[in-house]
Each structure stands twice: as structure tokens, then as C-alpha cells.
């Protein structure tokens, strides 16, 4: 019968081995969790640049700006960390301020995210590092709050809600681009009556039609009341939500589906990319999406895949409505913990200079620089710049202007209106019901 095992019965060499193994495990654990154990900081000897530019043409511009910076500052290598846009917006953006591999310069969205970065102490005041001439290059409205610190430098402005149209389809059916909301609904109903898919959008992620809903509502109640509604400062009533009536009408009239193309409710299962494919493939007459769609139109043209003449118009107004538009301003902030604030700002100065912004404009971006009109040559971006120059109140897209959950509540309401699962009474009730829990979580 084998003798019972006991630790004490082991030879001393084996016991020593056991202790060494235990210590090795402790050291291994300390090494594995070193980032958690060390204090949060940015790198001493590198400049980390976090962004979400993933297409080859955008990366080429960024690479050239980085190369220019490297020639001027060879002592400070630049590391680029490129995230998928959705991952960055949801998770990456927040996580970059933890651990000992923090970013120095990071891409961001003006609004809720910049405000949170300012409140959390993640953003640097860049005023001391910038001259008046530096700042004078940008449209003042794109620099964020005019008083106090300057923590954001803009790169581009995007109009979130434009209606891209298949002009050939409109022409064939004897329709013209609508000038009022009523005409827009009538055109959409007429297209559907002829068996066509009047509008296509992928609302799987909610934001595309949610942003349109915010613009419709903002125009109807005014920008300040919209903010009050979003923050729960005034109650949501069916009358106040009347601006969303168009979504209800579209759902009722079947403007978002068509036999053989998209079944009722299909809008909720498509992504924005699917919707883009359907529109560019000529299967839908209208596609509401932001100004960034310019680049897709261009790509489709360049590849010979666009078989119709595209056009674009802004959301038609209701008579007597305030002029307002949803616009998202993207740009950069510098981490307050950076070891190289002057060089980080210098990097941005170069990246946002006309030299590189011209190249971004050639890709269809609307630059936040004052001289953008001079270097934007593409017809559609020029039309959009002219639109942007028209006086109008700016509404931030809900997911960049408010907390993500407040935005999500609104987006979900819009999605349900579009699916015909809610009317305005139901929308007002859901919005009101959500306010206490939103407030409690934000405490």
C-alpha cells in the first residue's frame, strides 16, 4: 500500500522548488497585471496618437502628417493606434485613459465626449500653446465653448441629415425634389404607390434615423426646448413630439418597405452599410444619411458601379419652423497627462494645416477651416459647404450631444415609430417613464 503523501515528507530540494514556483507565480501575476499596478500616465519617449481613420486614403494622409512631424522632431517617435470607429466610440475612447499606455493626442467628437473629457480631467487646455493666428484658421462655431479653456481642435464638420436621391428614379416618375415636409411625404407616398422603395436606411444601430428624428424635433420645438426635452427638464407630451409625425406617417404609408425589396420592419435589421448597398444598387429612391456619404458616392463612381445620377437635398422644412440642422464636429484633444504638450499641439497644428485638410476635402470631408471653400473643388461638397454657410441653429446628434443612454432612449423611440409599434402618445409616455431611471444613473 503506498505511503500517504505529505508536504513534510518531500525532500528539502522539492520543498524549495515548491516555494520557488510559488514566488514565480506571484512575480508572473505582478508582471501580467503591471498595467493595473502602475500609475496612469502617458509615455515619456513616444507620442501616442489614437484615431479611427481606417480607410487607406485617410491613413495615407495621416501617415504623411506623421512623417512630416517626425522629420521635425526625430527624437519623439509617433505611435498610431487606429480603432474601428464603432469600437472606439463605445469602448476604446474611454479605455485609452486607463493604464500606463495612455494616448497623447486623440480623435473625438465635440459635445458630450469632449465635455466628459474636460470634466474627468483628460483634456489639456491648448490655449498656451497656440497663437491667435493658429486659432483664427477655424470656424469659431467649431471650436467648442468660446469661454474658458480651449481643449478641442476641429478637423471636420459633418451634416448628419441629408437626403440622397436617385435623380433618374425621380425623373422617370415625374417627381421633383421636395421643398416642404408635406411635399416630401407626398413624394415618398407616390414612390411607394408605384411599388418602389421610397426611402432606405439601415436602422439596426438606431442612430441614422434617430439623428433624423432629432433634426425633425429640433426644428419643430426649437433647439433650447429640444435640449430641455432631452435632459428631462420639460415633460414630453404628444404635442411637443409632433415633429416626429413624419416617422409615423412613413410607417403608416409603407414608405420604408416595398414588395420584393424590403419587407415591413426590415429597416430594423439592416445596418447602415446594407442600406448604402441597396441605395447605390438603385433599389431605393432616397437614402437619408450624413455628408460623409459623399465619399461613398465618389468611390462608387470611380469603380463604375453607380448607374444613376445622384442628388442631395437637406431636410425640407415645415412652414414657420426654425432653421436648424444636426451637425457633428469631429477633431482632436490632447491628453492632460501627456509629457509633451507642446509637441502634441505642434503635431495637431501640422495635421490640421491646409496642406492636409485639402487632401481630406478631396475625399469628400467638409473641413472646419475658414478657407475650406477655397480648396474644396468637388461639386457635392461645395454644395454642402454652401448649405453649412446658411444661418441655422446647430443641433448636436443625440449620441454626441447627450449621454449615450439618453440618446439611446430617443433613438429607440424613433425606431419604434418607424416600425409602427408606437404612436406619439406612446412615445411621450416611454420618454417620460425613462426619465427617473436616467436621472438616477447619472447621479
Amino acid at each position: 500500500m503506498p505511503a500517504e503523501f505529505s508536504f513534510a515528507s518531500l525532500p528539502s530540494r522539492a520543498r524549495r522548488g515548491g516555494r520557488i514556483l510559488a514566488w514565480a507565480l506571484v512575480v508572473l501575476a505582478a508582471y501580467a497585471f503591471r498595467e493595473r499596478l502602475s500609475l496612469s500616465s502617458a509615455s515619456r519617449d513616444r507620442l501616442r496618437f489614437v484615431h479611427s481613420f481606417t480607410t487607406a486614403s485617410e491613413r495615407a494622409i495621416i501617415d504623411d502628417a506623421v512623417a512630416e512631424f517626425q522629420r521635425a522632431h526625430p527624437e519623439l517617435p509617433v505611435d498610431q493606434i487606429a480603432f474601428n470607429s464603432e469600437t472606439y466610440q463605445n469602448i476604446g475612447w474611454r479605455l485609452q485613459f486607463q493604464g500606463d499606455r495612455q494616448s497623447d493626442v486623440f480623435f473625438t467628437w465635440l459635445g458630450y465626449k469632449t465635455r466628459q473629457a474636460d470634466q474627468e480631467g483628460w483634456s489639456l487646455d491648448m490655449k498656451p500653446y497656440l497663437s491667435a493666428e493658429d486659432l483664427d484658421q477655424f470656424l469659431p462655431s467649431t471650436l467648442g465653448p468660446s469661454s474658458g479653456a480651449l481643449t478641442f481642435l476641429p478637423q471636420s464638420v459633418d451634416l448628419s441629415n441629408l437626403i440622397w436621391v436617385n435623380r433618374d428614379c425621380f425623373r422617370t416618375n415625374g417627381l421633383i425634389e421636395p421643398r416642404t415636409r408635406q411635399e416630401w411625404l407626398a413624394v415618398s407616398i407616390e414612390l411607394r404607390r408605384r411599388g418602389l422603395l421610397a426611402l432606405v436606411q439601415g436602422n439596426r444601430e438606431f442612430w441614422p434615423m434617430g439623428n433624423l428624428g432629432a433634426e425633425l424635433l429640433g426644428r419643430s420645438v426649437g433647439v433650447e426646448s429640444l435640449q430641455d426635452l432631452f435632459m428631462g427638464r420639460i415633460p414630453a407630451t404628444p404635442q411637443r413630439l409632433e415633429g416626429l409625425r413624419l416617422l409615423v406617417d412613413w410607417a403608416r404609408e409603407g414608405c420604408l418597405d416595398a414588395p420584393g425589396i424590403l419587407s415591413p420592419g426590415g429597416i430594423g435589421t439592416l445596418s447602415d452599410l446594407d442600406a448604402k448597398v441597396l441605395f447605390l444598387g438603385g433599389k431605393a429612391a432616397q437614402h437619408p444619411i450624413g455628408s460623409w456619404f459623399t465619399a461613398d458616392i465618389r468611390d462608387a463612381k470611380d469603380h463604375g458601379e453607380l448607374r444613376f445620377e445622384p442628388g442631395v437635398f437637406s431636410v425640407p422644412p415645415n412652414p414657420g419652423e426654425a432653421e436648424a440642422r444636426v451637425a457633428v464636429i469631429t477633431g482632436y484633444q490632447v491628453n492632460r497627462r501627456t509629457r509633451h504638450p507642446d509637441l502634441a499641439v505642434d503635431f495637431l497644428r501640422r495635421l490640421l494645416s491646409r496642406k492636409y485638410q485639402e487632401r481630406f476635402a478631396a475625399l469628400g470631408n467638409l473641413s472646419a477651416r475658414k478657407d475650406a471653400v477655397a480648396f474644396t473643388t468637388e461639386p457635392i461638397p461645395r454644395q454642402l459647404l454652401a448649405l453649412l454657410a446658411r444661418p441655422a441653429a446647430m443641433i448636436p446628434p443625440p449620441d454626441t450631444g447627450y449621454s449615450p443612454e439618453r440618446a439611446a432612449v430617443f433613438y429607440e423611440i424613433c425606431a419604434k415609430l418607424l416600425l409602427g409599434k408606437l404612436d406619439l402618445d406612446g412615445a411621450a409616455r416611454i420618454w417620460t417613464e425613462q426619465q427617473p431611471s436616467l436621472a438616477q444613473k447619472e447621479k
Binding site: L25, E205, S403
Partner: protein, 275 residues
């Protein structure tokens, strides 16, 4: 083996368990009752738990988990058992079929979700409309069944192989039909395997995440507790509330497992003994 010896062998496993399960689980629970604001801890107590239990979205998500469990019971466990019974005999043809039916089980659910997402997507897929509201839970359960029935088939095949041949021979000599042999002989002897399969199916249905995340990012019907808590935690930036949801989910799964297994064992034992 002495206690010390046992401890020595137990320690590495315990260390890994403590580091990667116990510690994060405790941290999750702590995060659900305490929040840190500018370096100061603020005691929340059970406030977030009360809020979660009253949250309509959480209730609906938990309901979706339950419905999903019931469907997967059919499409995974029952289908797996049927496959195992059908392919029980050790022929070359059956061996090939076993490989074919088991193959989807080795695929990542993310890949499965993407493939079926394209297949069922409205407007662009070959079988459009299957993922629309109203069909969502049934469709995702079917997909899950396609991917996992082979896994349960293997479990049941293992159980069937363990049934003594003389018991089956006795049933045959007594003139039992195939159905009678299954119901009165094989199924009672597979009892322990059935428990395991149900346990795996139940915990899997309530821990589900990947397939739902890939297929239904925002659909109400396709929202289960797993996707809701990830959204709360990461997307909405409410780690405390997300932690409370995961603590409740863990409690539901643990309680459900214990109670379900006890009830099942009691019920099955009684019904089989009474025959």
C-alpha cells in the same frame, strides 16, 4: 494523501480560480453597491438592484432569455438526443454523419451569427425577413440549435454507449418495441446525462451573448440580459448598473440551476420509479 499534500495540489487551481473568477466576481459585486467619485467611495446599497428589478427592459430581457431557453431545449437538447438515437449504431455511414452534425459545434458563435445574419437579412439576404421583430427569438434559437445540437448529440452518444448491452438484450427478449426500449430503458439510464445536458442548456441560454450581439444590436425582442448589461456597462458608461445586472443574472442562473436540478431529479426519479 495528507491534507497538506491535498492543499499543495489544490493550490495552483485555486490560485487561478481566485485570480480569474473569484476576484472579478467580487469586484463586480462591490461595483454594484459602491461607486467611486473623485477618489471617494459612495455607498449605493441595494438601490441599483431595486432599480433593475423594476426596469422594464431588464424584465423583458430576462423573459427573452427564458423563451430562448425553452426553444433551445427543443432545438439543442431534444434534437441532440434524436440525432444520437438515430446515429447510435456504429456504422461507417453513421460515423460520417456524426462528424457532419458535430462540425458546426466547433465554429465560433460570432462566425455563425455573421453567416446567418447575411442569409436572413432583409433586403440583401437569401431568406429575408427571418430576423425581423416577431421572428427574432425563434430564428436565433434555430440557429443556435443548428450550431449546438451536434454537441448534445455527442454527450448523448457517450451516455448511450454506457448502457449495458445485457439490459437492452433483456428488453428485446421481453418483446419491447423501439419506443418502449427508449422510454422505459434507455431514457432512465441516461438520466445523469440528461441532467448534465439540461444544466448546460440552461446556463448556456442565460449566459448567451455573442449570437445575439452579432444578430440583434438593438432589437427589443433580440435583447437578452447579456447584451443589455454589456450595453449598460460599456456603451452607456454605467458600470455600477451593469454590475448589478450581472450580479442578478448570476443569482438567477445559480438559483435556477439548483432549484431546477432538484425539481427535475425529484420529478424524474418519481416518474421512473413509479413504472
Amino acid at each position: 494523501m495528507s491534507r497538506r499534500g491535498q492543499a499543495l495540489f489544490f493550490a495552483p487551481g485555486m490560485l487561478v480560480f481566485a485570480l480569474f473568477v473569484l476576484l472579478p466576481a467580487t469586484q463586480t459585486w462591490v461595483d454594484s453597491v459602491v461607486v467611486w467619485k473623485q477618489g471617494r467611495a459612495e455607498w449605493l446599497g441595494l438601490g441599483l438592484y431595486k432599480m433593475a428589478l423594476a426596469d422594464g427592459r431588464f424584465q423583458r430581457a430576462l423573459g427573452s432569455n427564458l423563451v430562448y431557453f425553452l426553444w433551445t431545449l427543443l432545438f439543442e437538447v431534444v434534437a441532440g438526443l434524436m440525432l444520437a438515437l438515430g446515429l447510435e449504431r456504429n456504422t461507417r455511414w453513421n460515423q460520417w454523419l456524426r462528424v457532419i452534425f458535430f462540425a458546426p459545434a466547433v465554429l465560433s458563435m460570432v462566425v455563425v451569427g455573421l453567416v446567418f445574419g447575411f442569409l436572413f437579412k432583409d433586403g440583401v439576404g437569401l431568406l429575408p425577413g427571418w430576423l425581423n421583430e416577431g421572428n427574432a427569438l425563434l430564428t436565433v434559437s434555430l440557429i443556435s440549435g443548428w450550431a449546438s445540437a451536434g454537441f448534445f448529440m455527442v454527450i448523448f452518444l457517450g451516455g448511450l454507449a454506457g448502457i449495458p448491452e445485457d439490459v437492452l438484450e433483456a428488453a428485446r427478449l421481453d418483446g419491447a418495441s423501439a419506443w418502449q426500449t427508449f422510454w422505459f430503458v434507455k431514457l432512465p439510464l441516461l438520466r445523469e446525462v440528461v441532467y448534465v445536458a439540461l444544466l448546460v442548456c440552461f446556463t448556456g441560454a442565460f449566459k448567451a451573448f455573442d449570437l445575439f450581439w452579432v444578430l440583434f444590436r438593438n432589437q427589443e425582442e433580440g435583447t437578452i440580459v447579456g447584451t443589455l448589461l454589456v450595453r449598460e456597462f460599456f456603451q452607456y458608461g454605467h458600470p455600477a448598473y451593469g454590475s448589478a445586472l450581472s450580479a442578478i443574472l448570476a443569482a438567477v442562473v445559480t438559483a435556477g440551476t439548483i432549484l431546477g436540478m432538484k425539481a427535475l431529479r425529484w420529478g424524474l426519479d418519481r416518474s421512473w420509479r413509479s413504472r
